[in-house]
């Protein structure tokens, strides 16, 4: 990818971001809520892509951290008042980080199909634990009645009960995660995990104890998944075993593949596309799963590098037909800005 094509992509992403910033002022209440969902899944998908697309670890249990953080938020939130975010956020993230450390300690030493199975098994263990635990609502789940408060002394810094404030809170979290991961990937640590993905044995032979690098990557991915779960707990006001089931893990995996592994903006786009289509297909027909399946098969067949691959190809093509290169780029924004 030459620099001009990647600059085109950057303009495209920035204009999408501007659309996201403007959206709550024009969009209906329901759709603003839906976009919040999309952004939360964008965070979750980026964290899984750190494992799949950059470290080469295909986890089929990533929803475990997402759901666990929701439960942790429910546990630390009193029923009658809001918990302070300064307490709740570290509690949820450190809690999921600890879970990822334990699960990673066992699973990261395996690879390929065994890694898939062991991450799935751990996630299912958590699923059944919460499913059977009647103190935490069993299969019905548990409510989170109040969003955590963001106060400093007696001053309220952010009123997260305000729909629009909460929207921007999630957007900022998504951007922070995006830039945090970019920083990680450019760092020496990022070079090593990408080496592991490309050729783990060679990476070890060059002098890196790959187990620890994979474990750290696993814990970072789990913690960011925890952040997504924390936001989802606030947004939905309920957490149920479904949040950490294998169905949810499969959905995140599909989002990453759909969006394009090994890019950071791809999984965000994948989350937007997937949730938009889910919502749309559900309106059209009760057999919406069928449509979803057809769509996923079509993407895998025709866009093996996902949406990000499509965008890269379009940018390269645009760059080639130099004439009037900016116009078609802005046209494209409209399409996936909604989706």
């Amino acid at each position: 990818m030459n620099t001009r094509a990647s600059r085109l992509i950057r303009y495209f992403l920035i204009s999408n971001l501007l659309l996201l910033v403007a959206f709550p002022w024009v969009g209906e209440h329901f759709y603003v809520g839906l976009v919040m969902n999309m952004m939360i899944f964008g965070i979750l998908a980026m964290s899984l892509d750190l494992l799949i697309g950059y470290t080469g670890l295909v986890s089929l249990g990533h929803a475990a951290y997402y759901g666990l953080a929701g439960y942790l938020l429910a546990i630390i939130s009193p029923e009658s008042e809001a918990v302070s975010i300064w307490l709740a956020l570290p509690f949820c993230i450190l809690g999921t980080a600890l879970a990822a450390l334990i699960i990673g300690w066992f699973s990261v030493r395996t690879s390929g199909i065994y890694f898939i199975m062991i991450t799935l098994a751990f996630a299912q263990m958590l699923f059944y634990y919460f499913n059977e635990n009647t103190d935490l609502g069993g299969s019905d789940g548990i409510f989170i009645f109040f969003k955590p408060s963001v106060t400093l002394g007696s001053i309220t810094l952010l009123d997260l009960d305000n729909h629009i404030v909460f929207y921007y809170f999630i957007l900022v979290c998504m951007l922070l995660v995006y830039f945090l991961l970019r920083m990680l990937l450019a760092s020496p640590f990022g070079q090593v995990i990408q080496g592991i993905r490309a050729n783990e044995n060679r990476t070890r032979a060059l002098g890196y104890p790959t187990f620890y690098y994979k474990l750290v990557s696993f814990v970072i991915a789990g913690s960011i998944g925890g952040l997504a779960g924390f936001l989802e707990g606030m947004h939905g006001g309920i957490v149920s075993p479904g949040h950490l089931g294998w169905h949810e893990s499969g959905l995140i995996l599909m989002i990453v593949i759909l969006g394009g592994m090994g890019t950071l903006y791809g999984p965000i786009m994948g989350a937007f596309a997937m949730i938009f289509l889910q919502d749309w297909f559900q309106e059209i027909t009760v057999h919406w799963m069928l449509l979803m399946g057809v769509f996923v098969i079509a993407v895998v067949l025709f866009l093996p590098r996902g949406i990000a691959g499509l965008i890269e190809d379009l940018a390269a093509k645009l760059d080639k037909s130099v004439t009037d290169s900016n116009r078609p780029a802005t046209q494209k924004n409209g399409e996936s800005g909604d989706g």
Binding site: S187, F189, A198, N201, R204, A205
Partner: protein, 253 residues
Amino acid sequence: MTAELILETRDLTRTFGALVAVDKVSLQFRRGQVHAIIGPNGAGKTTFINLLSSDIDTSFGSIHFNGQDITDLPPDKVSRLGIGRSYQKTNIFPEFSCLQNCWLGAQSRLPTSMRFVRPARLYDEVREHADKALRDCGLYQRRNTVAAHMSYGEQRQLEIGMMLATNPQLLLLDEPLAGMGQEESFEIIELLKKLAEDHTLILIEHDMDAVFSIAQQLTVMVNGQVLETGSVEQIRNSKAVHEAYLGEDEDES
């Protein structure tokens, strides 16, 4: 022949089920020398190198590097002690550029790569080492080329470049000339001669002309065992070696 020992194996043994691939091999390697290991296919040469670099576990016996027992160390620790290796089957990062390939080698000499904030490209000392390795292996001009897009010979050069980037004292080279044309071989041989000036080399190679032009010490392995070891002259004149192995090759050439 009184240079200090850099590496020593004692009764080094590796079995795969009933097969004894390396059978009680006790060898001494001296600093600054080129020590070639020759032998027919299946003699256990590659297994021996894999044991030295800890790519596979030792069944029995021990390995000592600069006096330290390294038998049970994992491959990353062995690498960090200063033993670099190249593989018979090209083992690189195909989708990375040459620079990135060597970069990973050079970066492994930082005290740790568990560094998360400063971009890797700002580590000047890593860049210097990676650039030097690229220059030494003759790929500096190709530094931004993706490894998978290069010729087989260039990939073999890169294989050596990555090893050099880790700044090793001892180089384990498993058939560096495997599958190469004459001209490419010649370049690699020149490179090996240059490396021999300030490194210790343990070399597996089938090309006898190359072996005789570089090596000072020779070990002949047959069926996992050491048949004979000594200076090149000693081996050339060894009756046992001629009968078992060398004779035919020399007649051909």
